[in-house]
Amino acid sequence: RSAQFQLAVPVAVVFAPGSVPADLPRPLPFRDAQETDISVNLRTSVTSRYEVTYRGTTAREEAALDAATARDADVALHMLQDAPLGSLTMYVVPETSSLLPQGISVYVGKHRSALVRAEGGLAALRARLRQLTQVMSFTAASIAAALSDRVPDGQLGPDARRHLKSSLGYEITFSLLNPDPKSHAVEWDIEDAVNRYVQPVLDKLSLVANFSVDSQILYYAVLGVTPRFDKESSSFLLSAHSLPHVINPVEARLGSSAASLYPVLNFLLYVPERSHSPLYIQDKDGATVSTNAFHSPRWGGIMVYNVEAPASPQVSLPLRVDVDMVRVMEVFLAQLRLLFGLSREELPPEFLLESPGNEGLADWELDRLLWAHTVENIATVSTTLTSLAQLLDKIGNIVIKDDVASEVYQAVSSAQSAMAELSAGHLHSAFQASKEAVTSSERAFFDPSLLHLLYFPDDQKFAIYIPLFLPMAVPILLSLAKIVREARQRKKLPTKID
């Protein structure tokens, strides 16, 4: 079945006084809609529709834009507006405004608004606004990645399939690996760190999925790779090409919760042995990595935490090590963002992004996730239901239980309402509907009762039934033949006598 997605993004472009370009086609306020086609393949087409409302600022917004810095303006503006999920507001400030620092023409805030400098006339402004909308909602690449199931392999970039798949929940496990407990007695206050730093991020992401967090400490867990000693820096180095082999020996010992089926994200903190300290990770060019961490898509991340060598050589072992959880969580949460696909690195230089602080991600980044996940969910539902229908067509005698049928109906109606909400621009309800659709369709597809086991090839059917029925059939057929002959003779007799 072909699927046509229409993704509508409500955008408001607000012109501060002094920033209205001279060549506006119509006087403010007016509405406009721009449609672009992101065609994915023959069967799936995605159109993005930016429903733009151009207007001037209200008095309160002007007051907010009078703030000293962009950040203050952003905070003040956020309190004024009530932007629903998926919508964007862009404030155009005059070219001479001091809100934006030199050389920066776009400032993207923590919530769903941005400040744009009005320079270069209407066409340039429109191009910049379009680029900004794409950054804050979705791009052709992110949609193609979400629909990666349907896109032929050659068209995707190399990193299109590395983000976490949309799932109803994720399990996060923090593990502390201490291979040398005799030298280091490592303490980490993980519960406090989780409550302080991780929980706010997960609360923000709770719209996307359910998260469960656990932690463990593993002793005598070694990396599978022996690091090299580098004389120049007198430290041990792990080169980039040996990193893939580090994960597997550790993973065997990690374990996971037996009850939940959600994908697991493992974050490992490795404290190297005293004999291998300090240990640094080298990237492909040979430079040491500042974070001393690496991650594997769809799996998790590992960070190496070096312990300071003690000042005096005659110190009593084991050394007590109190892990600096802030540094560790900064890296782990950054890895969590990267695993979900929220990277901030590919933006043009004149964009300034506000740091989201302890929340971990900005509102518009959450929107990006939701756009991608909603599209992915709907695509998954349609493939699941199509293949279920094909299965049931092929195997005629599978019994479909009532609850399976009702799940299928529910999945179809939820998917339809999700697509309708997407084209109306209501991201939140679209996402919820898509989640329901996925749950129902998965439950219907993976119902244990739908197993078809009985395949009888035709020659087996003949081989079984012929020896049974043929001997029985012979006397029956002969008797029938005899009856028919007698009936015909009886019919002929009266005519013969006459």
Partner: protein, 343 residues
């Protein structure tokens, strides 16, 4: 998957366990392996060396060891369970270790051994799986994107018939013998009294012994393993459904597990001066009633129970039909005029 049981099928268990060992050595953890065995060899009363399963009489390598994790053992190795694992239609109470939690980026290796015939594989002497069912199961997996690429290895008699019917993309298959040929076993061990391994698997394992996690050997080398002179049967393979050229497929893509990693270059800035959060756990536990242990068998109730009144049902159709037949035959034979003598 080892699909046979009983002592004389020792070699199938040894096959499977040897492949299991190699795969674990190359880095795949137990959480990513589903092992289905009848598991009746190590503790079999006929095993002269209990708690061991040997694979080669000279190497004396005990492939059973002490960290074998069998997920489906003994009578749980059925066609139904195998298909359930593949397609994912598992009852919700199944633990994680018994499920195939793969996604569209997973490469899956399936190794099956046992007794087979033209188009079917025998499961534990009581049922069979046909090549059509297997192909359909793989198609179900493909529809749900439960695999990225799949390597199917089968070591049974007439093994090539099992992969003839595959039609889903990205499947590569290897078999130990063609249709009409039997796969032979390698050598008997006179101490244990049975054949220890099958030839094809033996040579595959010799090949795998030289693979280490960083090795670059590709699939074409695996296809050359066990030529007819050593194996007596002709191993076959099928690569037409596979999108990549077998030359470019590394053995470790399937037998080992080498992940893609990226260096983390971004960090976020956390504000550590925020006031500490209150712990979210409730402070006091609710006072509950002391719990009593429920009586397991209410003996007093059972003794004094009256027998349940069963409802009376009229006799069923079969009984009625039988009696009708008997009466008809009786009257046909003796004539209807005798009725008055009976009643």
């Amino acid at each position: 998957v080892c699909t046979s049981r009983f002592w004389f099928n020792y070699r199938h268990v040894a096959n499977t366990l040897s492949v299991y060992r190699s795969v674990k050595r190359l880095g795949i953890p137990d959480s990513h392996i589903v092992l289905m065995l009848a598991d009746d060899m190590a503790c079999n009363p006929r095993n002269p060396k209990p708690a061991t399963v040997f694979s080669h009489k000279n190497m004396e390598l005990n492939v059973y060891g002490d960290d074998v994790e069998v997920d489906y053992r003994s009578y749980e190795v059925t066609v139904e369970n195998f298909l359930r694992v593949l397609t994912g239609r598992i009852p919700p109470s199944t633990p994680r270790s018994k499920r195939l939690l793969s996604d569209d980026r997973s490469n899956i290796l399936i190794y099956m051994t046992g007794h087979g015939g033209n188009g079917f594989l025998k499961f534990q002497d009581s049922e069979e799986i046909t090549n059509v069912e297997l192909a359909d199961a793989f198609e179900q997996m493909w529809q749900k994107r439960r695999y990225n690429e799949l390597l199917f290895i089968i070591d049974t008699c007439q093994g090539a018939s099992m992969y003839e019917r595959f039609y889903s993309p990205n499947i590569m298959a290897l078999a130990s013998s063609q249709v009409g040929e039997d796969s032979l076993s390698h050598q008997p061990d006179l101490g244990i009294g049975v054949h220890l391994m099958d030839r094809y698997t033996f040579y595959v394992l010799e090949f795998l012994e030289e693979i280490h996690p960083a090795s670059q050997t590709n699939m074409n080398d695996l296809f050359q393993v066990c030529p007819k002179s050593l194996c007596v049967s002709t191993p076959g393979h099928r690569t037409d459904l596979f999108q990549r050229d077998p030359q470019n497929v590394l053995i470790t893509d399937f037998f080992g597990s080498v992940r893609k990693v990226e260096i983390t270059t971004e960090t976020i800035n956390l504000d550590s001066d925020l006031p500490g959060f209150e712990s979210k756990l409730p402070q006091d536990e609710l006072a509950t009633e002391p719990l009593k242990y429920a009586e397991q068998l209410p003996v007093a109730q059972i003794i004094h129970q009256k027998p349940k009144q069963k409802d009376w049902h009229p006799p069923g159709g079969f009984i009625l039909g039988l009696w009708a037949l008997i009466i008809m035959v009786f009257f046909k034979t003796y004539g209807i005029k005798h009725m008055k003598h009976i009643f």
